[in-house]
Symmetry: C2
Subunit: 109 residues, 2 copies
């Protein structure tokens, strides 16, 4: 029998985790989430030890992952948490980490 591939759920969780797997992206999300407000890349760059272009790449990744969104407000771009997706993500992760059933046996496929 052929090997099963990964489930969509497994890929989805891994994708969320990948978005959080760099300290710069954790910083960005913490900042935007904790202040519950929008922020430009210029307001973030002073806080972290990376170049502007690198920050821009991380912002792009978080946008791609759907965790943040950017509103253009010339000549700046204001980034905010995508609240809808944030909530979805929160639920997925909470579900993943929820307490286990009681069971002391071994692996049963």
């Amino acid at each position: 029998m052929p090997k099963p591939s990964f489930t969509e759920q497994q890929k989805q969780i891994a994708g969320i985790a990948k978005a959080l797997s760099h300290p710069a992206r954790v910083y960005i999300l913490q900042k935007l989430h904790s202040m519950n407000a929008c922020c430009t890349s210029g307001e973030m760059i002073g806080d972290i030890p990376i170049a502007r272009s690198t920050l821009s790449q991380h912002l792009k990744e978080l946008k791609y992952a759907g965790l943040i969104q950017g509103e253009i407000e010339p000549p700046m771009i204001k980034y905010c948490i995508n609240k809808e997706n944030w909530e979805i993500t929160r639920k997925i992760i909470n579900e993943f980490f929820k307490p286990a059933q009681q069971n002391t046996g071994d692996c049963k496929p």
Copy 2:
């Protein structure tokens, strides 16, 4: 003024996320956690589309991250969730995703 480096907390969260950032590692954790029991690598290999040696690498990474532990029971090794660290991790991630304060302003450093 010099650029601040990332905080220990940011690095810790990123580290946890990195451990979860591959579908094979998500599968391993889901399996061990949902059954709340131990399992050998041989009992896992049939479920996922990777080679044995690759699975072994992923198990090693999760062990390094502290999320699982392996008991040697010759000729097998039984892997289980490291419950203590799992709980710590759960709290860290829950804290990260907790609801925000209300605040509609913009970025205030």
